[in-house]
Amino acid sequence: MNTERYELVIGLEVHCQLKTRTKAFCGCRTTFGDAPNANTCPVCLGLPGALPVLNRHAVELATRTAYALGCTLHATSIFARKNYFYPDLPKGYQITQFDRPIATLGVVSIGNARDGSAKDIRITRVHMEEDAGKSVHDRFVGVSAVDLNRAGTPLVEIVSEPDIRSASEAGAYLRALKQILEYTEVSDANMEEGSLRVDVNISVRRLGSTMLGTRTEIKNLNTFSGVERAIDVEFARQCALVDRGEVVEQETMIWDAMRNEIRPTRSKEASHDYRYFPEPDLPPLQLDLGWLELQRSQLPELPSAKRARFEAAYGLGASEIDQLTAQRDIAHAFELVTAECSDPKRAANWVLGPLLGALNVSGGRIDEYPVSPARLGALIRLEASGAVSNTAARQLFAILGTEDTEPAAIAEREGLLKVSDDSALLAWIDAVLAAHPVEATRFASGETKLQGVLVGFVMKESKGAADPRRVNQLLAARSG
């Protein structure tokens, strides 16, 4: 089999849970991990006589999502019912949007221009819908258990055009999408907790062909790497089929991450007739044009714009910029630190190094870390002025995390200010030479390569306070 003769054609459907306090159509909480069915009411249980009423905040978040993806928002959109029977679908239909979604025609940029990997993935549509509940099959013997806490949680479904041509492009698209969802604070965008779910539509065609092949849909993907592996496996399977002259059947496949394999579900997607029709319990959703404009204008700076601005304003390298803009709060902290110390290079190093390192250990949020951007900026100023060495500055950073005192004051108290006074330096040098007579003798007799070792001893003796430049000069004068 030769996959090189084939081209992959992929479109992704991403279901994203919106970060609302309550469900899409009722006042039940959306919290994760509560007792089964604790967050259910007549509406999300689908009891007779209960009616849906749409959550305004869900509309705001869906609107923000769509604008962040560059979509056209529609002043009128219509909810529809998608009818099918399943125990975790309480009403026997899902409220979703069908032929009149809230937004269409957007774009997500992936890759970068520098290495020629830049590419736009077009967004077909963004629509609002409600989530289903959960069926638990391993809890009781012989029966399945239904928990409807998740039923009715607001989602947006983001559907891409079949513009993706490889597993790595799919991964890049998902990472870019996740970053946008996090920047706009519309979702936790967490695949492990199920707040981001991905279905892959995949087909193959001979290179050069413009016809679309028969597609399959892969569900049950729980990680981005799982998506990429599943695509590779399915690509190989479809290529092999076509190579043998067989046909790809339109069907829904399940990814088994444990076995690294794909298998078909028993139902054929084509056999479903969901009998969509407009949801009569919900009049058309009308969005005021002025309100829409306000939503658009209040959109935060998006990752691509931030990267471009950082490049222009701070003169940082691509890798540093990617790391700094990976999360909105990291970029924000960096900008605050830079504003304080006026030294973007040092600010980047400190934020990406000691600060993120400390957060990795503590697990806290960057905007709640005890070393505030103002204090970190002051520390960087102290280091840049030459008053403390980098070694001392790192020690100071650790102390700043435990007490609320100004960096300069701590440096003075702890004797971490750089000492350039010759009498003090000479006292440390004498002490070091006395403590290491063998090295002292060899150094005095002309073995100059020992100078570095001795400087290190002096720095240690001075607890980092000695000015290493002057120590070098003074030691050089003692060498034979």
Binding site: P42, L45, G46, L47, P48, G49, A50, L51, P52, V53, L54, R81, N83, F85, P87, P90, K91, G92, Y93, S144, V146, L148, D273, R275, Y276, F277, P280, D281, L282, P283
Partner: protein, 492 residues
């Protein structure tokens, strides 16, 4: 005992009962006691009406005690007034079965907004009433709990689907009852039973707690022994409800209109439309004659009468029997035996769905689910459902054009026949045709009501008033005037 003449206390209007209770002239529990006694009499034995499915004497007594306490601090428009509620409207203590086996002994864990508002107004819920299963029917014969009989002739149907509520009012058990309408299920039984039945504007009364049949057509409506009873009841339940996204944010005015009694020509300047399509040559000439008499009465009250044309009227039944089953097929999907109601479990999931629904639903419900599933299915959606919705807009436009052209209200017959014999109509489509004059108002969402305009061979005939959206007050003004003008003739 005659089945249709209320005696004693319940011969007084709901407003009068509430006033007497509020003034301390009557014990708060007295109207309830009268109602329970009357109910026991008309429901008793094999010849009983079978209008009431269940009662809650204890809960009702507690409610009267509560009303007695509350009267000290507030005035209650329906203080102590007994009412019955159609069994597809959710109540807290009494079961809500929709006349179906599939709900078993289901007691709703929440209450319909309309019921809450009636209770807050001081009304006492005496019982739940029989109905065609899931409100699908025009005779109350499609109930899992047996048919209801018409108090005027117990061999005949009371109409439907709210037949139990209509029969209870007609038999003098209560002055006021809640019903529901999707295609005429309040007005048609009101006409058959010789009482007043009102379907308000779509959105005027919250549907929260009304078990859905066809959401875009469903309304909660009221029955009254008189126009005033109905006006009082509608005023109590009308108004915006945040729990129903289709409920209207439109001011509620009082529909009671006692003042006009002093005017000699209270309808001076009113233009009454006489839609030709509602008076086909095939219409029973006796019904036509009674409508003419009612129109003459309106003229004498000062109204002018104008013939109008509603060219799409004949399409209303086909449109209705596409849209309503389509929505029903989806609304009834939740009756799956998973979370509530009656479950039949042969051991597999698919088997449970199939057995629960085939045992639980009666033939008319099954018929409409199949019909609805068909008209929504891929390949047929455009030809049936989508087209029906477009024609529905044409029907609504007929009304809009007539009202825009200066017509204030229309008068038509409510039904093409009087109450028919139990078992007489067996073809489903023939049964559907009994809604022919009423479904248009559901399709257009306009307010409409039926009130007695006479009798044929002892059986009541209803006249229907049709008004523009949210013009219930105007509709009631005409109804009061007509009721007063016809007087005893309305029941002859």
């Amino acid at each position: 005992m005659t089945l249709t003449e209320p005696d004693g206390l319940l011969a007084r209007s709901a407003a009068d009962i509430a006033r007497a209770v509020s003034a301390g002239e009557l014990q708060a529990a007295a109207p309830l006691v009268a109602s329970m006694e009357r109910m026991a009499a008309v429901e008793a034995g094999p010849g009983g009406l079978n209008a009431i499915l269940c009662t809650d004497p204890e809960g009702a007594r507690d409610a009267t005690a509560l009303v007695a306490r509350r009267m000290a601090d507030e005035s209650l428009a329906l203080a102590g007034v007994p009412i019955v509620v159609k069994d597809n409207i959710a109540t807290l203590r009494l079961p809500t079965t929709c006349g179906s086996r599939i709900l078993g002994h289901y007691v709703s864990p929440f209450e319909a907004t309309a019921v809450t508002r009636l209770r807050h107004a001081g009304a006492i819920i005496v019982g739940k009433t029989n109905m065609d299963e899931f409100a699908m029917g025009s005779s109350t014969e499609n109930s899992a709990f047996g048919p209801t009989q018409n108090p005027h002739d117990t061999t005949r149907v009371p109409g439907g689907s709210s037949g139990g509520s209509a029969a209870a009012v007609a038999a003098g058990v209560v002055r006021i009852a809640l019903g529901s309408e999707t295609g005429g299920s309040v007005r048609q039984p009101a006409a058959f039973c010789g009482i007043v039945g009102v379907k308000p504007t779509y959105g005027r009364v919250s549907r929260h707690g009304l078990v859905a049949f066809a959401s875009s057509l469903d309304h909660i409506g009221v029955f009254g022994r008189s126009v005033d009873d109905a006006a009082l009841a509608l005023h109590a339940i009308a108004g915006l409800d945040p729990l129903d996204a289709t409920s209207a944010d439109h001011p509620v005015v009082s529909y009671c209109d006692a003042a006009q009694a002093r005017h000699e020509r209270p309808l001076e300047g009113l233009v009454v439309g006489w839609p030709a399509e509602y008076f086909p040559s095939s219409l029973d000439w006796k019904i036509r004659h009674l409508c003419d008499r009612a129109v003459d009465a309106l003229r004498e009250l000062g109204a002018t009468v104008r013939t109008v044309s509603m060219p799409h009227t004949a399409l209303a039944i086909p449109v209705y029997y596409i849209v309503a089953p389509a929505e029903a097929s989806s609304n009834l999907a939740r009756f799956d035996g998973v979370r509530f109601g009656h479950r039949v479990d042969p051991g597999s999931l698919r088997g449970m769905y199939e057995a629960t629904r085939s045992v639980g639903f009666g033939p008319e419900v099954t018929r409409r689910i199949l019909l609805g599933t068909y008209v929504l299915s891929a390949g047929y959606y455009d030809a049936y459902y989508k087209r029906a919705q477009a024609v529905r807009q044409l029907i609504a436009a007929d009304f809009a054009a007539a009202f825009a052209d200066g017509v204030d209200i229309m008068l038509t017959p409510t039904t093409p026949t009087t109450a028919f014999k139990i078992g007489a109509v067996s073809d489903p489509y023939d049964m559907y045709l009994s809604d022919i004059f009423t479904v248009t108002a559901n399709l257009a969402g306009i307010p409409a009501m039926s009130l007695p305009i006479g009798r044929i061979d002892g059986l009541p005939v209803g006249g229907q008033l049709l008004a523009p959206h949210f013009e219930e007050a105007r509709m009631f003004r005409v109804a009061y005037a007509l009721e007063r003008a016809l007087g005893g003739m309305a029941h002859q």
